[in-house]
């Protein structure tokens, strides 16, 4: 390992340890429990936003239907745990990942045929179909009521019903997902995805099967969104059609754009900003309006997001 890489790894390790031990070192702060809950939710949505960024920022696929896989994962996890009558983490998380990946395969099969704006239209429309299924297939999904009182899982006898354990589970999963995404985006496969974004025709001329490349990225991103969905079902102990709804897709997109598309930490920053707006802002302020206006301002004035603006500041 070269020296700068070693230094970077050390910074990441220290930052993660600080994050993972937050409940301990902040325990004398009166809002510690409240803050820990918000951080847990930020990390879950950061996983979701990062998976979307693999499509939006790296592969250049502006998906407006990513909630289908977040919600799909949440439903699959809850249904598997309930039907099989088990609280094993491996079962429900595995079902969440598998369900979301299969769903992404079906949606992606059609969607990757469309280009640019049409890809966005198709993902939106197909995700809305998933929403309709979640709403109408009452026997499977509980309809508009969804699942309430979802059990929190156990692993090797560790019970994630305890808030502290759940926090650690989220922190560890977050780290693993970010490491995986870092590995993917710096690999030759990730480079090929960026190549598709920049000039798909040239990539095809070079002999890449770009449709398969795009579909594989779509399934991968869907599976990771499924992880976030399963975690969200443990966090809120509730799964509802809202998890599959367009507003959730848009929220994910806003996180990616605010943070900075095509960067590893941008979506994490974006998730933090959006959730802080939603949870900490006085509740009389209309959250959707604020979100919409922030989104418009970022598209017009700061298309590179916070990460892009920071990078420019460092360079200047």
């Amino acid at each position: 390992m070269s020296r700068p890489a070693l230094a970077r790894a050390a910074i990441v390790a220290v930052a993660w340890l600080a994050l993972a031990t937050f409940p301990e070192w902040s325990q004398f702060w009166e809002s510690s429990r409240f803050a820990t809950g918000i951080i847990r939710q930020i990390l879950i949505f950061a996983i979701f936003a990062s998976s979307l960024d693999l499509l939006v920022g790296y592969a250049g696929l502006p998906s407006l239907g990513h909630a289908a896989f977040f919600g799909g994962g949440a439903y699959a996890a809850a249904i598997a745990a309930q039907r099989l009558g088990t609280d094993e983490l491996v079962v429900s998380l595995g079902a969440g990942i598998l369900g979301a990946a299969l769903l992404a395969l079906a949606v992606g099969f059609l969607a990757v045929r469309a280009v640019g704006i049409f890809f966005l239209m198709l993902t939106l429309a197909l995700a809305q179909m998933v929403f309709a299924i979640a709403f109408q297939a009452t026997d499977l999904t509980g309809g508009s009521n969804g699942f309430s009182a979802v059990h929190r899982p156990i692993l090797f006898g560790i019970d994630f019903n305890a808030a502290g354990n759940l926090y650690l589970l989220v922190c560890v999963t977050f780290l693993l997902v970010l490491l995986l995404l870092w590995r993917i985006t710096t690999s030759s496969y990730g480079r090929a995805l960026v190549g598709v974004r920049e000039n798909e025709r040239r990539m095809r001329a070079l002999g890449y099967d770009t449709r398969t490349l795009k579909l594989s990225a779509f399934v991968l991103a869907g599976a990771i969104a499924g992880v976030a969905g399963a975690l969200s079902s443990y966090e809120f102990r509730f799964v509802s059609p809202n998890d599959v709804a367009l507003s959730t897709s848009v929220t994910g997109f806003v996180m990616v754009l605010i943070g900075g598309a095509g960067t590893l930490f941008g979506p994490v920053l974006g998730a933090a900003v959006v959730l802080l707006i939603e949870r900490v802002l006085p509740s009389q302020l209309p959250a959707q309006t604020v979100l919409g206006i922030v989104f418009i301002l970022f598209v017009v004035f700061a298309r590179q997001g916070i990460a892009g603006a920071l990078r420019r500041m460092v360079r200047a």
Partner: protein, 294 residues
């Protein structure tokens, strides 16, 4: 299904298709001219319906609302286009993204305006006087308002066709769809033309909202439903042409209506299946000029 039922459902499908045409025409027009899929189209539709609700309450007349609401939405479009979209000219994806933000703000605005009689509860707009009864068709009663929707939409299609083919403005729009840059080089103020097109598209969305309100009512979420249906119509029919909007709504309207009657559980799956088939085998849509897929 008896013959009477089938006829009734065919009329329902036709009137739903007629409504979808009004909705999709505006989306298609804006796309044809500006290469922007206006994802606030559903929000414009919703806003049109709520403006019509307020106007009808204030004046007691649906017909005044039918004129005022589309004009209000067109005026809104006249403000929004130069304000938000013009500065992003040439950045199509960003223009599309802006319209998502706009639709969030509009939907939230409507949800919070309880004091205007809007808000999050379901509202209804009564059928206009004279069209609130049924007539006998093939031995069963059929609401006259739905027949009015069919006639109204056909008249609108004819009007749009004449405007498009027989007027100077129509010629400019056709030229802009063909090559906006060249049109601008020839000395036409394309910025003004874009703004006007966007305003007409927004007005059409508002018009669809007014026409639909007595049948479907007004509630949160209607914006997304309208957006999804209009997207499906333009994908099936083909984007950017009037005939594409007609073809798409003629397929999707009846298909959706019969789907809901024959297999209520899979109604949505049916129209999505149609969309998937069109996309796989005819990537431009039935009558489109733009390739949506490859």
């Amino acid at each position: 299904m008896t013959f009477e039922d089938a006829l009734q459902q065919a009329l329902n499908g036709l009137s739903f298709g007629a409504l979808l045409f009004i909705l999709a025409a505006g989306l298609s027009l804006i796309f044809g001219m500006m290469d922007v899929v206006n994802l606030a189209h559903g929000a414009f539709y919703m806003l049109g319906a709520y403006v019509a609700l307020s106007v009808t309450r204030a004046t007691g007349s649906f017909w005044i609302a039918l004129i005022v609401a589309p004009l209000a939405l067109a005026a809104f479009g006249l403000i929004i286009e130069p304000l938000l979209l013009r500065r992003l000219r040439g950045r199509h994806l960003d223009q599309v993204l802006i319209t998502i933000g706009l639709s969030l703000v509009i939907a939230d605005f409507i949800r919070l305006r309880d004091d205007w009689g809007w808000g999050a509860t379901v509202r209804s707009l009564p059928f206009p006087a004279g069209l609130d009864r049924s007539i006998q068709i093939a031995g069963s009663d059929y609401p006259t308002y739905r027949l009015f929707v069919i006639a109204f939409s056909a008249a609108l299609a004819f009007l749009l066709y004449v405007l498009h083919r027989r007027t100077r403005l129509g010629a400019l729009v056709r030229a802009g769809v063909g090559d906006a840059q060249m049109l601008s080089a020839l000395g036409v103020d394309t910025d003004r033309l874009f703004t006007l097109t966007f305003a007409v598209g927004a007005g059409l969305a508002g018009l669809a909202g007014v026409v639909a309100a007595p049948v479907f009512g007004l509630q949160p979420g209607m914006d997304i439903d309208a957006l999804i249906y209009s997207l499906i119509v333009v994908v099936v029919g083909g984007l950017g042409s009037l005939s594409g909007a007609i073809a798409g709504s003629a397929v999707v309207g009846p298909a959706d209506t019969f789907g809901k009657v024959l297999f209520p559980q899979f109604a949505l799956a049916l129209i999505f299946a149609i969309m998937a088939l069109v996309l796989l085998f005819r990537p431009t849509g039935l009558l489109g000029r733009v390739r949506i897929g490859r």
